[in-house]
Point group: C2
Chain length 199, copies 2
């Protein structure tokens, strides 16, 4: 079974999307060329436009349109707190929680020497420039709790320490509403070692 | 939390894809604009190209490039058997099973009067023209086993009967390798009523 060349090419292009396998890609391609031709045209146009217009925020590296993202452009934010995240999706997740009023810095990855990703690729010089600016008093490390995320957090905490800026790590433990019974051992171990004295 | 306009537009366009919700659309958009810029360009191009080049096979309505699909263009197929399916994905599934050597006819849907989908929308005139051609001796009805699929199969079997062409319906029952224990009641009822005498 071989598809027509233009169709096969579209299926291949759709497969590069995260979470899309061969079956879903085929389903998407048929949908786009069958009932969804208007949507297909809109998708092609918005892709081309986004590639032209969307770039990184000059200050925090978040994907945005124009010089600064809406957080960096706002004068309503607490400039003393800087939250470092690995990806734009993490930025969005924290922002949507409504629990943080400071600014962000998006690494766009984590330290991973084997993949050739060092401080330069993560824009650490830009981060150091912000820290040297003197406004930030707390660096909140919200990288993932993976080996690479922890290593990155450790590296960044040393950068802060050298500048006598306080650094903190977001808490890891049992999720709110989660039942202990279903939480994995690693998370439970972390919840126990990170226990807080109540009285 | 509001995204930059071009980014929001891209996320909306991605949400029109089947099986893609708001979270996946955001994840895809970030991926396309972050690490996947080359893939994004390729996707935009292949979409535009596919919209231009891919149309329906003049004979069987399958999505293809050029006049005829590879099945209708081949002279290796059994022209006496015509298999009617609802969608291009069904065409692909049967073709990949390697168990059918005849030709296809793709309805691109099923009869659904409430949605305004009647014989005209399903290209039934084209199907009748093929049946009137005199080559086909068996019309295999491989529409889905939904209410609409069954109604469509019934309608098509009457078309065949009027022309004294044999029509058949694909078998429904317990999937191969499936365990009775986990098969739903409707399928079991169908498997029993469709039982075949062995000896």
């Amino acid at each position: 079974m071989k598809h027509a060349p233009a169709l096969a090419q579209l299926i291949d292009a759709l497969r590069t999307l995260p979470g899309v396998g061969p079956k879903s890609a085929q389903r998407m391609a048929f949908h786009l060329l069958q009932d969804g031709r208007a949507g297909a045209r809109a998708l092609a146009e918005s892709l081309t436009q986004a590639l032209q217009l969307v770039a990184r925020c000059k200050r925090c590296r978040m994907l945005t349109q124009g010089e600064l993202c809406f957080v960096c452009a706002s004068n309503q934010r607490d400039v003393t707190q800087l939250c470092v995240v690995e990806s734009p999706a993490d930025f969005v997740a924290i922002e949507q929680s409504g629990s943080f009023r400071g600014r962000y810095f998006v690494l766009m990855g984590h330290l991973s020497p084997l993949d050739g990703i060092g401080p330069a690729q993560l824009g650490i010089r830009d981060l150091e420039a912000i820290l040297d600016g003197g406004e930030v008093t707390e660096l909140i490390l919200a990288t993932n709790s993976t080996v690479e995320g922890e290593a990155t957090a450790h590296y960044l905490s040393e950068l802060a320490q050298r500048r006598k800026i306080r650094s903190s790590r977001i808490a890891h433990g049992v999720p709110m509403g989660g039942e202990l019974e279903y939480v994995d051992g690693g998370t439970l171990a972390r919840a126990l070692s990170g226990r807080q004295i109540l009285s």
